[in-house]
């Protein structure tokens, strides 16, 4: 066997310390079953503080709206609701998320309604005084109709823009920054219709500002969009409107893998495996989107850039500091000088380090005796822990059941399979290296699953149990836990009430 190709996870405290408490984690799974999701509500508050520090450094005001879609937990939402209302809000993308946010203690004025919206969602958002992030002029008309029909107060609205590459007039002559086409938002070139609709419906809606959310890791694209929004808001002011906030969405990213070298070694090995110059690293030679065309690699690896030197608040800082293409000043300066508040909608990055998913090892058997590879079957399926589905490649942490130190034994390459009777139910399509061969009864902990991974795709197929979720907190020298739905950020977990 080659040197093991690890992709070990980045774990910071307190998640790192939780992972060292094996007896505690085993006792949780013994009591509550496998799979099990564990959340650290304190960590989400810590992340909010880090985003706040970036705002402070740039003298900016405005809110971080947690993109609720990233995790359905109550504990996380309630913990965020306890943060300063001036700096933390929640972004909801469905009626149920809106109801949940209200039930967790967010007042309407701290809620942003995004995404596709039906009438009930629009009405409830308007009723409770949420800000509605409008996708199109049509949505604006529907909202205004509801406001008038039901005698509601004026609703604060943002307009979500898209299609920045086509904006003319401002872009540097001769350069066009292509962007992936988005299904969402109103193309900037159609903003005239939007503006006149805003003016026409001024009795029903109060225009608060512009918004974008772009599905890209490229900071330059975002800096360009940001600048175009500032220019757009300027036009709005010239027409007598008074926008005051710019919402730049989420997508600040998370670094999942701890070591750059491990990530680089693995991705290079993948290219080589696709070219056939080394043995496959994946189940049946899956190439993650890369293919070999006559000795040349084509396609793009459908992988999340799992090692990221800057992510989350650091990425926001970078974006705010980049020179903007037209006006030349960094986005932070633009916002500040134009007196705009900055709104962000971090999902994944706000729940970085906020949780893990545990699975019990059911069975271990050889897959390929010659290569020393094994199949490890877990009491969990690909729906319960969907890092792989999101293209995130990172190793689980082995938590042996007994006293055996995790250091003994030889590193081994395993394929992690799920508890569904389906050939395709693999938790990873890649050969995962563990420091030793697991045994039935051991646990595997998938770190950092709170963003989109722990229950985003969970389902009841084959009547397998869906993971329960618990919130944990460090108290004195030990970890305490309670069911996610019982967590409130006012009393210590497991502590005396009152």
């Amino acid at each position: 066997m080659d040197v093991p190709l690890y992709l070990r996870p980045r774990v910071d405290p307190p998640l790192a310390s939780l992972l060292t408490d094996r007896p505690f984690l085993h006792s949780l799974v013994d009591a509550l079953g496998s799979p099990l999701n564990v959340l650290l509500p304190e960590a989400v508050a810590e992340n909010a503080a880090r985003f706040r520090a970036v705002y402070r450094r740039h003298h900016l005001t405005g809110r971080a709206y947690f993109a609720h879609k990233a995790n359905r937990s109550s504990a996380l939402l309630r913990r965020l609701a306890a943060e300063d209302p001036a700096t933390v809000g929640v972004d909801v993308a469905s009626t149920e998320e809106l109801r949940h946010a209200l039930g967790c203690g967010f007042t309407g004025d701290r809620i942003m309604a995004t995404g596709p919206k039906d009438a009930a969602f629009l009405w409830l958002a308007a009723r409770v005084g949420a800000t509605v992030n409008l996708d199109s002029p049509g949505e604006l008309e529907r909202l205004s109709g509801l406001v008038r029909a039901h005698g509601l107060g004026r609703v604060a609205v943002l307009v979500r823009l898209s299609g920045f590459e086509h904006a003319t007039g401002h872009g540097g002559a001769g350069t066009r920054l292509l962007s992936r086409r988005s299904r969402f938002g109103t193309p900037v070139r159609d903003s005239e219709a939007l503006l006149s609709a805003l003016e026409r419906n001024a009795d029903a809606v109060e225009f608060v500002g512009a918004a974008y959310h772009m599905d890209t890791t490229g900071v330059e694209e975002k800096a360009r969009a940001l600048e175009q929004c500032v220019l757009f808001m300027d036009e709005c002011r010239a027409r007598g409107l008074a926008p005051r906030a710019l919402d730049i969405g989420g997508g600040f990213g998370v670094g999942y893998v701890a070591e750059a070298e491990e990530w680089e070694r693995w991705t290079t090995a993948l290219t080589e495996a696709v070219l056939g110059v080394r043995p496959p690293l994946t189940w049946r030679g899956h190439g993650y989107g890369l293919r070999n065309e006559g000795g040349t690699v084509r396609g793009a690896a459908a992988l999340y850039p799992a090692y990221r030197p800057t992510a989350g608040p650091g990425y926001l800082d970078e974006l705010l500091s980049l020179p903007a293409p037209v006006l030349g000043r960094p986005p932070a300066t633009l916002l500040l000088e134009h007196l705009h508040d900055l709104y962000i909608e971090p999902g994944r990055s706000l729940v970085d380090q906020c949780g893990l998913s545990l699975a019990r090892v059911l069975d271990v058997r050889p897959a390929d005796m010659d290569a020393g590879q094994y199949l490890v079957r877990l009491a969990m399926n690909a729906g319960d822990m969907s890092l792989e589905e999101h293209g995130v490649l990172v190793d689980p942490v082995l938590l042996p059941r007994g006293e055996a130190a995790s250091g003994d034994g030889e590193p081994v390459g395993v394929y992690l399979t799920g508890n569904l009777c389906l050939e395709g139910d693999l938790l990873t399509r890649r050969l995962v290296f563990l420091p030793r061969l697991p045994r039935a009864g051991d646990l595997l902990a998938f770190a950092n699953t709170a963003g989109y991974a722990m229950d985003f795709h969970a389902h009841h197929a084959q009547r397998q149990p869906v993971a329960r979720t618990v919130a944990v907190e460090r108290r004195d020298d030990s970890w305490r836990w309670c069911p996610d739905e019982d967590y409130w950020p006012i009393t210590p977990l497991g502590g005396a009430i009152g």
Partner: protein
């Protein structure tokens, strides 16, 4: 030397020996092939002309567009060649990360399309990368694009096999160097030269240099990226090594400051990579009395990479302070030396002062135009900084109220003006933001 067209000036570049006192190799003569002396400034002039010539001559009516995936030198050469033939040029790239190169291309009349970054939320159904889309668009039967296709076009290699390689042999009096060192971008120069050298003498050793995987050196590829290049064949190279941007800049500085060669980063990378590799061979030759020869390519010139250097090694471009500057004032000094005035007092002062203060808004003209304090003048901070270097820009008899977004920059400038002897300059506490929050009026133009 008299030519009828600039294209005749392509090629026949000098081979210049590096002074052994610089590289320290005792038994190896190291030569630089100065491709930067081609008329458009780089090693890419040869393949650009060789690849584009058939296209441009065929489309003599001159309404075609040459397209290439290029972040720099090939684009530069193609833009000039297209311009000479009445055609347009479009560069498609996701690697145009050096602003001077982008601006230079715009100056040459190129059109630039930058490919989008990668998706943050992975869409597993999306198997098409932007490049695949790009190729599909080009092969569309209705397309009028002339695609030079430098990563796959054998004429790229040919240009070097017919020019660069034979020139090296000729300048070494018909001998082949023992080592040939080149950075790998399209693999065109290394492949073409290596082919010719091997034909003359198969003992030549070829060292290919790529960028360190997590690093960025404009113009060359990382070890993974070379596998996406159609012209790349690992068998071309005896060794493939990676270099860091730090090494590239070190090498570039050596070539510039000690050899008088105004090389860019890839020339620096080739030099540094060559010396690193040859040091072992040199030690083995000690005492044998044998001499060896090595050649590396200096691909292009330094001027386009100033911001690249500024970003990675700012101290190399350090400006020494001259005159007064706000950046020389510490926060503590600014707080101690500058006078501030709050919004209410500032409103009263600007309305009733005798004489009234001159209100200077330090924000960008764009923000100023959107909303500002009535009667204020706009001097953007960068310009103000320059003004101060020349001396006090206001009469000492005119009181001055400085305003910026939150009152931080204006505080520094107020401190500087006080140091320069202005008797009555004040900074608006909390800036324009505080002014707005207090409900004080702001006007637009």
């Amino acid at each position: 030397m008299r030519y009828d067209s600039i294209t005749e000036a392509i090629g026949n570049t000098p081979l210049v020996r590096i002074d052994p006192a610089v590289h320290g190799l005792r038994n190896i003569d190291l030569y630089a092939k100065l491709e930067m002396l081609n008329p458009f400034g780089s090693v890419k002039d040869r393949p650009a002309w060789h690849m584009a010539r058939p296209h441009l001559e065929a489309a003599a009516d001159g309404d075609g567009t040459v397209v290439e995936l290029s972040s720099g030198n090939t684009a530069k050469a193609l833009a000039l060649l297209a311009g000479m033939h009445g055609a347009r040029f479009k560069s498609v790239t996701n690697r145009m990360r050096v602003p001077e190169i982008k601006e230079l291309l715009l100056l040459l009349g190129a059109e630039i399309e930058e490919l989008p970054g990668r998706s943050e939320c992975l869409d597993p159904t999306d198997t098409d990368d932007p490049l695949t889309h790009f190729h599909r668009a080009l092969s569309d039967p209705g397309s009028t694009y002339l695609h030079t296709d430098q990563y796959f076009n054998p004429r790229n290699v040919e240009a070097h096999a017919e020019g660069t390689g034979p020139e090296i042999v000729k300048d070494l009096d018909g001998r082949v160097p023992d080592w040939f060192v080149a950075c790998v971008g399209t693999a065109g120069s290394s492949t073409g030269v290596a082919r010719v050298l091997r034909e003359h003498d198969p003992r030549v050793r070829v060292l290919g240099l790529v960028a360190h995987k997590s690093d960025f050196i404009p113009g060359i590829r990382t070890i993974d990226e070379v596998h996406q290049v159609g012209l790349f064949d690992p068998a071309t190279y005896d060794t493939i090594e990676s270099v860091t941007s730090d090494e590239a800049i070190d090498g570039m500085i050596t070539l510039i400051r000690r050899c008088g060669m105004l090389s860019g980063p890839t020339g620096g990378a080739a030099y540094q990579g060559a010396v690193r590799q040859l040091r072992y061979a040199d030690a083995e030759l000690d005492g044998t009395g044998q001499r060896r020869t090595a050649v590396f390519i200096v691909c292009d010139r330094a001027e386009s990479y100033l911001s690249y250097v500024r970003q990675r090694r700012p101290q190399l471009l350090g400006r020494t302070g001259r005159g007064h500057s706000a950046s020389a004032v510490t926060n503590a000094e600014a707080r101690a030396e500058a006078r501030v005035i709050d919004v209410d007092d500032a409103r009263r002062w600007s309305a009733e002062g005798d004489p009234r203060p001159l209100v200077v808004d330090l924000r960008s003209p764009h923000a100023y135009a959107a909303l500002h304090i009535e009667g204020s003048v706009n001097i953007v901070d960068e310009v103000f900084e320059d003004l101060l270097r020349g001396g006090l820009p206001f009469s000492k008899r005119t009181p001055v109220l400085l305003a910026c977004p939150v009152g931080e920059k204006s505080l520094r400038y107020a401190a500087v003006l006080s140091r320069m002897g202005h008797p009555d300059v004040r900074s608006l506490a909390g800036g324009i933001v505080a002014w707005r929050d207090a409900g004080a009026p702001l006007v637009r133009e």
